[in-house]
């Protein structure tokens, strides 16, 4: 009986909360969420790459939970993020086991491209310092979107490598440690996924060692190529194709609400 259902849903709305009640309820829910105050995100909207990707994960997680409880869905939702499915979704244990998944905004405002000794590098930084205590990274990935490029490089391949910055030196190359690399056709388009689990765990435990990531692109004959010319989307690209990283966490201890 639709009207009845409607009534139930609107029972909350029918009686406007007094401001005191609203504050009380907000305080209670923030306490359950483990947040000291309501966040005030300052930039980006929900149509950006990371929130859209996370919404797909949220939908997948919700479907998993409801299937586990015996709800059955006539169909599987189609993921709205374009490009290859999340590498970890093929092993959905990460998603099932995760107590928390976090995506991190790239803090480098404008593409910083280094050109030392005829090598192009692009820099990325993520702040993993504010991870709640007791959470351990079970998996982490860096995602960057590669656009289709029309001119030259036909039938060529690119080798795209991601490095952890170990040490920075003024005026010369930083010390880098290669984390992952991928060889793709120059004409390919879509999200590229790099595994950065070990590094993320290291950064969570030692935030002072977090000097960011660097990315480089080489042609098949070893020439360094400007990432922009290779079609890799940077900070001036569309919001829904911005690069970001995502990490899956497992709580190592039970979170108890503070006693009031």
């Amino acid at each position: 009986d639709f009207t009845l259902d409607n009534e139930v849903h609107s029972s909350f709305i029918q009686r406007r909360l007094r401001s005191q009640e609203r504050r009380e309820m907000q305080r209670e829910i923030l306490s359950i969420l483990g947040l000291p105050h309501r966040p005030r995100p300052h930039l980006y909207g929900k149509q950006n790459s990371a929130p859209m990707f996370m919404l797909d994960l949220y939908n997948a997680m919700t479907v998993e939970e409801e299937e586990a409880e015996g709800f059955s869905y006539p169909y599987k939702p189609i993921f709205t993020t374009q490009g290859p499915p999340l590498a970890f979704q093929q092993d959905s244990n990460f998603l099932n086991d995760a107590d928390m998944v976090m995506s991190f905004v790239n803090l480098v405002e404008h593409d910083k491209e280094f050109y030392h000794q005829r090598r192009h590098h692009r820099e990325f930084r993520f702040d993993l310092a504010k991870i709640p205590e007791g959470e351990a990274v079970t998996a982490a990935e860096f995602r960057i979107y590669k656009d289709y490029i029309r001119e030259r490089f036909d039938n060529e391949t690119f080798r795209i490598s991601v490095y952890q910055v170990l040490q920075e030196h003024p005026g010369r190359d930083s010390d880098l440690f290669q984390l992952d690399s991928r060889t793709i056709w120059a004409a390919e388009e879509g999200w590229l996924v790099f595994d950065i689990t070990a590094t993320s765990n290291h950064w969570v435990v030692n935030p002072q060692h977090n000097l960011g990531l660097q990315l480089s692109v080489e042609s098949s004959d070893g020439q360094s190529i400007n990432p922009k010319l290779a079609g890799l989307i940077g900070t001036n690209g569309p919001h829904n194709k911005q690069p970001f990283m995502v990490a899956f966490f497992k709580a190592t201890e039970i979170h108890l609400r503070s006693i009031r």
Binding site: F12, R22, P39, P41, L57, M61, E65, D99, M100, M102
Partner: protein, 139 residues
């Protein structure tokens, strides 16, 4: 048991009408109890109404189920109850002044996932276990 027998004899001497009243009372109670049996109720909490739709991406709100209703004698077959609750219901029936009724409380709880922005516009997807009532019963 001697006391009990004594009491029974007293009771058997109670006027019929009083006995009839007591039984009628139980019957009436049970029918009311039937209406008020322990079950799950729903109250929708809207994040939008709390003015939080700018930082909570999903869900828009959630059904805050709660358990309410009587766990009184007789516990009807469709009401699930722990064995202990059944025994306590009988003991309460015999000593209503000394033993309380069992209480109506959640028997199964679900997780709820919340997706939201933090202050730095990072996005957090967190699963909160044992948060939403799935079934109610007498404890």
């Amino acid at each position: 048991s001697a006391g009990g027998k004594q009491r029974n004899q007293n009771r058997s001497k109670a006027p019929k009408s009083q006995e009839a009243l007591r039984v009628a009372n139980i019957a009436e109670n049970s029918s009311t109890d039937q209406k008020q049996a322990c079950k799950k109720h729903e109250l929708y909490v809207s994040f939008r109404d709390l003015g939080w739709q700018d930082w909570i991406i999903a869900p828009e709100g959630y059904a805050a189920y709660y358990c309410e209703g009587e766990c009184a004698f007789p516990l009807n077959s469709y009401m699930n109850a722990t064995n202990h609750a059944i025994v306590q219901t009988l003991v309460h029936f015999i000593n209503p002044d000394t033993v309380p009724k069992p209480c109506c409380a959640p028997t199964q709880l679900n997780a709820i996932s919340v997706l939201y922005f933090d202050d730095s516009s990072n996005v957090i997807l967190k699963k909160y276990r044992n948060m939403v009532v799935r079934t109610c019963g007498c404890h």
